[in-house]
Symmetry: C2
Subunit: 141 residues, 2 copies
Amino acid sequence: MFTELSPRAIRLREAGHKLTNARLTVLKVLEESDGHITSAEVLEKVAQIDSSIGRASVFRTLDLFTSLSIIRPTYINSSVTPTYVMMPDGHHHHIVCTNCNRVIEFENCGLSAITAELEARLHVKLTGHLLEFYGLCDKCI
Amino acid sequence: MFTELSPRAIRLREAGHKLTNARLTVLKVLEESDGHITSAEVLEKVAQIDSSIGRASVFRTLDLFTSLSIIRPTYINSSVTPTYVMMPDGHHHHIVCTNCNRVIEFENCGLSAITAELEARLHVKLTGHLLEFYGLCDKCI
DNA sequence: TTAGATGCAAATAGTTTGCATTTGT
DNA sequence: ACAAATGCAAACTATTTGCATCTAA
């Protein structure tokens, strides 16, 4: 059905979940996105690929992926439909322009020192993070 | 009607918005919360204080406050109803335990150096941020 | 005085649920 | 074989909208 399994699909199976058509299709849509995608967009693209997949399964899959920290719902420029962000290695960070709503990705969030300090001070074990900056992008300054 | 105006109320008026009963009541509820509150909780507490305030006005007020960066909707342990976090000085940070859903606040997010570096490198002007860590709290480790 | 904000109730839309059926392992 | 997952459609519920009325400045 699917020729190649992505690392996330393997992770899914190793966590004891079945690799169903619905799940692999949602995963494909997420992986082909730019890392930010709304539930409405996921529903639409999944329907384009395979219209026999039910909406409920898409939502169930998004919930499953969220519980596995593959994605994370956020409220980027949409107060109605959640935007899901892909969380490679359990983290994600970006800048949202509060004027034009553009989302700017960047590397090197520089949080490893902070993570280590918090783990030591608060006796917690941190596995990921979401860092969202707000401000004006270069075009809106 | 209200004897004292909080700094946020003054900020609201200075931004050109009327200080109505609905808005001041929502603000009061938010300020008396622990900094994390769902829309359902806001609706309920507002109704307790003044049942004549309409639900629609509460939602309109939450939208207004979000646009003013007084609060920010997030998806803490609730995939249905958004949780709003108060954003003092335009930022907020916390740890969410992925096991028990406890939210741990902490000071000193240590992002000022990263903020300055991003502003210089990407030619943006950053005004706030939301930083959310995921992991296990001391009791769940 | 009057633009802005409100409350109400109806409309909308995104998401969830129950269940018979199908499917991956 | 069989527990897990699915698709369907109905049910749900949070949120939004239109509009006449009210009110803060």
